[in-house]
């Protein structure tokens, strides 16, 4: 379907598609097998100016919105969700600085993120705090001109591969969620280290580790915004970033559909290509319908979010749930269409199915997203 993109938006799609076809797809199976971070591909993406799509021009970016990021991520997601996640996580780590950071902080960090010279990461989750952010145990205490951080963050994407970390820590335990603040920690800061690389079911080429803070001392001006603003910054960041996860579902679903249709046209059983059987045709039709419906919803949500920064949550959560549940179903169906071949690592669909699962979990589980939609409905109908 034609979504009437502008000429510039079409350029973003074309460049991202070329990177996906020429760089990502030929390497994805090996990167997955070796659980290797895609450093070279991310350099290609940086060289193509795509790391700065959402960053204002005054900080060296393209000056686009989350919709432009969505267009790039759709292509990358079609190639490999692990590579796409490494790219997207840098935006997730940069959004808190863009949303709540001081002018000096933006000047200091954004140009390097926009050029892809440095990568960012976002650190919220802990062993006892994920969906429930009030369980955060990492603390930050002001000592003279320095903040001292202690605690451990878990399952942090781009850990060890990023240079700039946006970290949530409690600065006032008595205030609950309002006692959380965000800080910029740099990879070279004293007292900051990484745990071993996690072994994952899917997105194996993305880096996931613990962040360990042991009396990690950082300058006072690394506080993002004000004290106690952390939780609000987190919520706004995730509202902005979730369409990016949703569109990974669309790109991934499209890739699975492409593989399934191509295979169904070639595979002959009972003397006919299996696409001629209605049982297969209906599966493929449902897959195509769901992919397109998801794409339309994510595009609409991303445009809404770009235009209405104070009304992001519902659209953001809706598209994340819909498109990522779709991706799980469509990739599972693609494996079914390919049958025994689909289950083999020689074909790309089993990886797609493994990769799909994380989309329903990270950046807020789909159950939490439904909570958000429900709460927003409750508010709307109380007005």
């Amino acid at each position: 379907m034609d979504y009437f993109l502008t000429e510039e938006q079409q350029m973003i799609v074309d460049i991202s598609r070329q990177i996906t076809d020429e760089k990502i797809i030929p390497q994805r199976a090996e990167l997955d097998e070796k659980e290797e971070f895609a450093t070279e591909i991310l350099k290609d993406i940086a060289q193509a100016d795509l790391f700065g799509l959402y960053i204002p021009e005054e900080y060296g970016g393209f000056g686009g919105s989350c919709f432009e990021v969505v267009l790039a991520l759709e292509q990358f997601g079609r190639g490999c969700v692990a590579v796409a996640t490494s790219f997207a996580a840098s935006a997730l780590g940069a959004y808190p600085i863009l949303l709540s950071g001081s002018e000096e902080m933006k000047q200091k960090y954004m140009p390097d993120v926009a050029s892809g010279k440095k990568r960012a990461a976002f650190a919220l989750t802990e062993a006892n705090a994920g969906s429930d952010a009030s369980g955060i145990q990492t603390t930050a205490v002001l000592d003279g001109d320095e903040w001292v951080l202690n605690g451990t963050k878990q399952w942090i994407t781009n850990a060890g591969e990023a240079q700039i970390y946006s970290v949530v820590a409690i600065t006032d335990k008595s205030k609950g969620a309002r006692g959380a603040s965000m800080f910029v920690v740099e990879d070279t800061d004293p007292g900051f280290s990484f745990g071993p690389k996690e072994k994952k079911m899917g997105i194996r080429a993305s880096a996931t580790c613990e962040l360990i803070f042991k009396d990690c001392r950082i300058p006072k001006d690394r506080l993002i915004g004000r004290q106690g603003l952390g939780f609000i910054t987190v919520m706004k960041t995730l509202d902005l970033s979730r369409p990016g996860i949703a569109i990974l579902g669309v790109g991934l679903g499209q890739a699975a559909l492409d593989e399934a249709v191509t295979y169904a046209k070639q595979r002959v059983q009972f003397g006919k290509p299996i696409i001629s059987f209605q049982a297969i045709q209906h599966m493929l039709a449902d897959m195509a319908i769901e992919v397109e419906a998801s794409r339309a919803l994510v595009y609409a949500a991303a445009k809404h979010i770009a235009a209405h920064p104070k009304d992001m949550s519902k659209a953001s959560s809706m598209c994340k749930v819909f498109a990522t549940d779709m991706a799980m179903k469509v990739t599972t169906d693609a494996v079914q269409v390919l049958g025994g071949y689909g289950y083999m690592r020689e074909y790309p669909v089993e990886k797609m199915m493994r990769d799909a699962k994380i989309l329903q979990i990270y950046e807020g589980t789909n159950q939490i997203q439904r909570n958000v939609v429900g709460q927003e409905l409750n508010k709307e109908y109380t007005k």
Partner: protein, 259 residues
């Protein structure tokens, strides 16, 4: 280092069809792309510019729609683009093409280096690079797979051979034709694409380059295609020994029967 890169628009090899009546390539309705070897030449030029400074100018002889490959090259880092286009150039073989490109390059200004792909995937002659060097009276090295250095205006190179490579020094100005092993071409950048979109492309016609009408296009072409075939590689070789004079004599004796 000011570099000129010659690029050609060719039909995409993915959908090449032969016209069943004429046995020639059907070009209508086939998507056009930049000759894949030329993409490597553009990439190498941009890398040299990034290392040593200077400018990269891409030049193409072709119909007006060949502008598309020039814009692709600009999107990948070239600075300027020149289209050499005239109805009178139509039907040119490699003899007429090298004449035309040579004339156009002389009009374009000074250069240190000219880069070409080793051959185009439609004609497969591999003659335009070397022929152009002869027209411009500059030295050339073909099948370059690596540039290893640049000092005192001399490039050091590896030339790909069937059984290894030669190390060669080339004083500039000179011309290289490159093989795909030389680099991995970059994907266009967003800023590059935006620049390419708005760049005005200089167009030169037959009059602009002071071309002799008898030397261009079909009238200037002497090639007759008798048969198209892939030459068989015969692995025979002999090493000549002795002084240079003795070797030359042996070589002449070996070649004599074929003259």
């Amino acid at each position: 280092m000011n570099i000129i890169v010659c690029v050609k628009q060719v039909p995409d090899a993915k959908d090449v069809r032969l016209d069943p009546k004429t046995n020639t390539m059907a070009r209508e309705g086939v998507e056009s792309i930049m000759n894949p070897f030329d993409r490597h030449a553009v990439e190498e030029a941009v890398r040299l510019k990034e290392q040593h400074g200077g400018t990269v100018t891409v030049i193409s002889m072709g119909p007006p729609q060949a502008e598309a490959v020039l814009r692709d090259a600009v999107a990948c880092g070239a600075d300027e683009a020149v289209l050499v286009s005239d109805r009178a150039f139509a039907g040119a073989d490699t003899w007429a093409t090298t004449y035309t490109l040579g004339k156009a390059i002389n009009k374009t200004g000074s250069y240190d280096l000219i880069l070409c792909g080793k051959q185009a995937i439609d004609g497969d002659t591999a003659q335009v690079g070397p022929g152009l060097a002869k027209r411009l009276n500059i030295p050339y090295v073909s099948y370059v797979r690596k540039i290893t250095g640049f000092e005192n205006n001399v490039l050091t190179l590896h030339r790909l051979m069937d059984d290894g490579y030669d190390e060669i020094e080339l004083p500039l100005p000179g011309l290289l034709t490159v093989v795909k092993e030389i680099n991995v071409p970059r994907v266009p950048s967003l800023k590059g694409k935006m620049k390419a979109k708005s760049l005005s492309i200089k167009t030169l016609n037959a009059a602009d380059i002071d071309a002799n009408p008898d030397s261009i296009g079909l009238p200037g072409s002497t090639t007759q295609v008798v048969k198209v075939f892939a030459p068989e590689f015969k692995g025979e070789r002999a090493m000549l020994e002795g002084t240079v004079d003795e070797q030359v004599e042996q070589l002449v004796n070996k070649l004599q029967p074929y003259l």
